[in-house]
């Protein structure tokens, strides 16, 4: 298969700012972006001036030309935005950067996301205008306007179709909070969660309790990608992109909740291509980072990535199965969007690489294959698979 990015691109630098509760960053959003990028370059041992490309998603406000000017980049060759999808663009931005490198358009590309919800709008709030028009006119006046409200009906229908119990969602939340207790970077470090605390927490929108919902944070994250043949010129254990792509099914974007296949995380059409590119299957995946806007999205993503049958959710989704190091599928081992930080999911990709390096605070043993699912239930969604040198 010559038309592939498999094994052609390496991740050689990881950078994160400190993660803050929404509104508590002392730094402006653009400065957060710069700090994460500089940190990723330092991790890779190169000057930020050598960066020649930037890729992001969800209409990130930190413009690549301004970044290149601020950092003194010698030669900007690639400036890319993944359209739509919110957090569904996380692995998509990586795919775009990898495609640029694999085709010779750029050599040293930063994938980043910077977000200061305290300085700009909060995702979890409805619009404040007096009127609404277009697709919004069919939902907003009925009190359907936040991401949680947009996705709960998909999850309710899925749970109805397959008899999934609330305890399955709870297990996902418990696993994330369990992992966050070992991760000093996590916003929820030192704030453990147990079954009683989950059960007693208030409803946001059924079936989501408070602890089924992601955090709202300020911070930035960045990854540095280079051609695979340069991977060993950098200080860390080499890690490679085995597959990364995005997409969505038939009329996934139809307005007023009219996509025919409704109760889905949107991964049904992308996952076969994901595994085909990686030349691997779900049995090869040793650890997974699965974007949690809401736990129900994690549930459907794990099903659609082939780790569990839809009618087997009540058995599969237990805390024991989801935690490192010995769970059946250790999931969201940094604490993820629920308990580490909501950096629109790019932190999940960083954690996936950390697992390959052996540097996670919830390390799984001898990881060679590490998967990320980005932004379930939106359109387009994306996924990525990272691998060690042994998988090439």
């Amino acid at each position: 298969m010559s038309r592939t990015i498999r094994g052609k691109v390496a991740v050689v630098g990881l950078g994160e700012t400190q993660y803050y509760k929404r509104g508590q960053s002392p730094d402006a959003e653009f400065k957060l972006a710069l700090k994460a990028i500089i940190a990723a370059c330092k991790d890779a041992g190169i000057s930020p001036k050598k960066v020649d490309g930037f890729a992001s998603f969800s209409n990130d406000r930190s413009d690549p030309s301004r970044l290149a000017a601020a950092l003194g980049c010698d030669d900007l060759r690639f400036a890319n935005m993944q359209w739509g999808g919110g957090g569904g663009g996380g692995s998509g931005a990586i795919a775009n950067a990898a495609a640029a490198i694999a085709t010779g358009m750029a050599e040293c590309v930063i994938v980043f996301r910077a977000l200061a919800q305290g300085q700009f709008g909060r995702f979890g709030q409805g619009p404040r205008s007096n009127t609404t028009t277009g697709a919004g006119a069919y939902t907003v006046p009925y009190g359907l306007m936040s991401p949680a409200q947009s996705f709960a009906m998909k999850v309710n229908r899925f749970m109805h179709d397959y008899g999934v119990k609330q305890e399955a969602l709870r297990a996902i939340s418990l696993a994330s909070y369990h992992h966050a207790q070992n991760n000093p970077r996590a916003v929820m470090h030192g704030r453990p969660l147990d079954e009683a605390k989950y059960d007693e927490s208030r409803w946001i929108v059924e079936p989501f309790h408070l602890f089924d919902c992601c955090l709202e944070n300020d911070g930035a994250a960045a990854m540095l990608l280079v051609p695979a043949e340069r991977a060993k010129d950098f200080p860390h254990k080499p890690t490679y992109i085995l597959s990364a792509l995005s997409g969505s099914h038939y009329r996934a974007g139809a307005s007023a909740h009219n996509t025919p296949d409704y109760a889905t995380s949107t991964f049904k059409t992308t996952v076969p291509r994901l595994y085909a590119m990686a030349n691997l299957g779900p049995r090869d995946v040793q650890v997974a980072q699965v974007y949690e806007n809401f736990t129900g999205g994690v549930l459907m993503s794990i099903v659609e990535h082939g780790f569990c049958e839809p009618d087997g959710c009540n058995e599969f989704f237990t805390k024991e199965n989801l935690i490192a190091p010995n769970g059946k599928l250790p999931t969201n081992t940094s604490g993820g969007n629920l308990a580490e930080c909501y950096m629109h999911g790019l932190g999940l990709n960083i954690e996936a690489v950390r697992q390959l390096r052996g540097e996670s605070t919830n390390q799984v043993n001898d990881v060679d294959v590490s998967l990320v699912a980005s932004g379930p239930m939106v359109t387009p969604v994306s996924s990525s698979i990272f691998g060690s040198e042994a998988t090439l």
Binding site: T131, A137, P141, G143, M145, A148, Q149, A256, Y262
Partner: protein, 145 residues
């Protein structure tokens, strides 16, 4: 009688003219979907062309206003100041089996803590807001006898 407390954004017809007939019909207690004059396919939300045959001859047509609950959600946490004193409320996704399974979002009137059964038959309740600026109509739903 308004299901939700006043103060949410008011729906207005799209300024590009795409969906004005739908809102004008709702004001007359008439429920419309978009239908293709060439292939007869119904679709929602409105688009400029038929997604089946790509004809531009799409128009709005009155339908038999009976649907079934495809999914639902009970909202508790207010995300807009107008809803701060609202308490829980129900949103339903209503599907029209006789019209190519097109769907609409609305509220299910009645007790917000009622048990909701997926598959239940529902009929519209046209909720007129004549004092709105501009005036508008919401299409709500109630369990059909």
């Amino acid at each position: 009688m308004s299901y939700l407390n006043p103060g949410l954004p008011i729906p207005v017809a799209s300024p590009d003219g795409l969906d004005a007939p739908y809102w004008e019909a709702a004001a007359r207690d008439v429920l419309m979907l978009q239908v293709c004059e060439d292939c007869g396919y119904y679709q929602w939300g409105p688009e400029w062309v038929c997604h089946q045959c790509h004809s531009e001859n799409v128009l709005f047509k009155e339908i038999e206003p009976r649907g079934r609950i495809y999914s639902y959600e009970r909202v508790w946490h207010p995300v807009h100041p107008a809803l701060n004193e609202q308490g829980p409320y129900l949103i339903v996704l209503v599907e029209f089996p006789n019209y190519n399974n097109a769907r609409m979002v609305g509220n299910l009137v009645g007790d917000p803590e009622q048990e909701v059964v997926i598959g239940s038959s529902v009929e519209p309740v046209f909720e007129h807001h004549l004092d709105g600026d501009p005036p508008y109509t919401l299409v709500q739903w109630q369990i059909a006898e």
